[in-house]
Symmetry: C2
Subunit: 328 residues, 2 copies
């Protein structure tokens, strides 16, 4: 991105805060650090800090809050990987593969609470009102994300899922944390309720675009670049918008081929590839357009929030485009 | 207990708050409610509310905080049961047995964050200082409890664990939440730091006595009354103080018999019973005395906290005695 001089510094500082908060030699802490050390784009803290910066919020506070939302995100990844039996993440074996399921559950729990610890540090010196608003947003986000993950799992065993249900699920599972990141950036800078709501909309639409793009990448990316196996959504029976659309418009023969691979953890690579080819043929254009629509909506919400110019706003403006065009 | 007219009302109200916070028809929420519906003694909220009551704290606030610490406790039970592969709890199958491991992980995560939601409600209208202190205590408790659980798991695969290490482990895994419950009761009533520290000591010593008594019950209780299989500590290789003491003073032959069952998930009922008999012979008196010592220390700390009389103080005074004499 053209504002990398701006974002790189934030990522460096957020990473330091996260690693410092997990500094300890024991295997519990090593397991917790593992996912963080695998990299990641740090989009959520970048959103939070950029929003705060462009509103003149205190940088130190925003960095801690940014580390908090990224820690929260990492906690959900560690637990999701256990639930989904995923073995690779960011090009490395997942925590439960390396340390076993019990330690991975515990490492996730530790990261969950470390997210609160970091947020409490971000809120040092703030009024009771700001504390209460920020912590309620964070807390509500975890409730919503958990409900989204439950929906995602429940969809795996359902034959029919509508596009509307899919959008609701990813709004909860993925987009809520983008929304809350933008929101907390605004809350820390103490702006008024309408602008907070615009910021939330920005994050929500951005997060939906991000997840649709993620689902596309799960079928089209270079596996090495992506850092995890492609086609795993099909193997796990995940009802992505691509699959929903494809099942909807498939011929009888195409449908049969797709169902052979869908949710079948033992299907062959060839069957997987066959199914993926059909899914893409029937849905890639549609999903790309859908992601682009949410990306546009994100931009519109951003403009309504009335942020000041400069690198942080440039970054926030580039992001909706970036999330739908990225290759990993 | 003689003050049951006082405690029953609290338990009823705390239970209602917990169940209300998980009201929803979805399986995620059903799974989360399961452990709560199995009963339990609700000692942690009873401590918190009694401390607050005896200091003239606001009842509504203390009830929400009580529901929060009990919700936190229940979350750790759900995750611990997965980690320890325990199938029964409070006379009912555990959450992961009924809903599967993925849903049990998620239900635990939901309860974890619901604990924060309830605490935020308890803190409504409080100053930033009180909010910050209470939430830091709660947050630090989860970090400490996670470290304690990691120690407990690590001890399973170790040949030698000292009594000192055992006490450190149960201080973290079990007693910290008793300490924090007493502490938060005091923080909500806004008393000074020295008395908070006395209350913490009360909870800490009480919690240690409670856990030693729990370990004794794991070898001596009536299985039906206890609601879970006895001897499971031996089968899982848990290094309880009874086992540490017994291994320390055993003859070569006794040691051999104990090691046959220790950490051996496939040993026969007879081998288990043989091992348990030896453990009890060599350590029951010692463990009982140890628990009684911590129980006495708890009482001493309580007296130093200078609480006012009446049913709440009566309850807090009875508790150290109760935890070491209970049969389940």
């Amino acid at each position: 991105m053209s504002v990398s001089f701006y974002t790189e510094e934030i990522v460096k500082q957020v990473d330091k805060l996260m690693l410092d908060s997990l500094a300890s030699g024991s295997s519990l802490y090593e397991a917790a650090k593992h996912t963080l050390l695998g990299g990641g784009k740090r989009l959520r803290p970048l959103i939070l800090v950029s929003v705060s910066d462009s509103l003149g919020g205190k940088r130190e506070s925003a960095l801690h809050a940014g580390a908090s939302v990224e820690m929260l995100h990492s906690f959900t990844l560690v637990h999701d990987d256990i639930m989904d039996q995923d073995h690779m993440r960011r090009g490395r074996p997942t925590v439960h593969v390396l340390w076993g399921t019990p330690m991975a559950i515990l490492a996730g729990d530790l990261m969950h609470v470390k997210s609160y610890e970091l947020m409490l540090r971000a809120l040092k010196g703030k009024s009771a009102e700001v504390m209460s608003k920020v912590l309620s947003s964070l807390t509500n986000a975890v409730v919503v994300i958990s409900e989204g993950q439950a929906m995602d799992m429940e969809f795996e065993s359902r034959a029919e899922v509508t596009e509307e249900e899919y959008v609701k699920m990813i709004s909860k599972k993925t987009a809520e944390l983008f929304a809350v990141s933008a929101e907390i950036g605004g809350l820390l800078a103490e702006i008024d309720g309408q602008r907070i709501s615009n910021l939330r909309d920005y994050g929500m639409n951005l997060g939906i675009a991000f997840q649709i793009a993620d689902d596309i990448l799960g079928l089209t990316a270079d596996e090495k670049e992506l850092g995890k196996p492609i086609y795993s959504d099909i193997r796990e029976g995940k009802k992505t918008v691509l699959l929903i659309k494809a099942l909807h418009s498939a011929s009888e023969q195409q449908r049969k081929k797709m169902l052979k691979a869908l949710g079948n953890r033992n299907c062959s690579r060839e069957e997987l590839e066959d199914a993926a080819k059909i899914v893409l043929e029937l849905s890639l254009d549609y999903a790309t357009m859908l992601a682009a629509n949410y990306s546009t909506k994100a931009l519109q919400s951003l403009e309504m929030a009335g942020l000041s110019g400069g690198p942080p706003l440039l970054f926030l403006r580039e992001l909706p485009n970036y999330v739908v065009r990225r290759r990993k």
